[in-house]
Amino acid sequence: MSDGSTPETDARRIAEGERERARFEEEVLELADQVYRVARRLVSTREEAEDLVQETYARAFRSWRSYTPGTNLRAWIFRILTNLNIDRGRREQRAPATQPIEEGDYFLYNRLEAETGADDEERIVERLSQDGIVDALSAVPHDFRDVIVLVDIGDFTYQDAAQILDIPIGTVMSRLHRGRRILKQQLAEAAVGEA
């Protein structure tokens, strides 16, 4: 039985498909700044970040049909980004030993407060340098850093971060908590080292 297709309807369908794809590509390209900002903190160098973003876009454009219109496009493209980053053969890193909870989470605050003698939260934080923060974040092991970067720099919810990394939401929360503690520990050590 004929499906009713004619050369004209086929041509229309193809043209519509092309338009849909062009729209999709434009929408994905609009996210490029955000994708780069996150990619830059997932890897060590600017060159690696550029490569990773280009690979991400090449894959996104190739597999555009796997995106379901109306669903979260940001989460979709960031999932490609984080999967590619993992595929790039990053090393498994062991998390450094953190301070016991009683001290660990207050480590940075206490160190900075003791050092500056300040009792003002803003002034205490201003003691940190931009380079120091970037270095401290890059020293956080990948699994923990991925979550921090997605939530704090990518502005994703816990739910989106869980979907992107394909891990349970509870794992997002625990990695975030642990990762931030490691970050603060690194910052505290750097701040004391500079004094």
């Binding site: 092309e18 780069y36 903190r41 550029e50 280009q54 605050y109």
Partner: protein, 76 residues
Amino acid sequence: MFDPCAKCEEVLQPFLDRELSDAEIAEAESHLDECTYCRKRYKFEEKLRMYVRLACAEEMPPDLKAKLAALRTPLY
């Protein structure tokens, strides 16, 4: 140096990440109103997150967007 507060531990992270329900936010805010220790910690963590976000935001190199656009499927 202050004594850690168990309540603060429980709600600080999801509160700062805006992941609490309205009822939980109200509970956290009322706790912050009455607990000096948690209020200081909250302000510190909030500032720290803002600093991390600002320090780590690096603009995309200008030529990268053109490279990405070049990866688009050519129109036939």
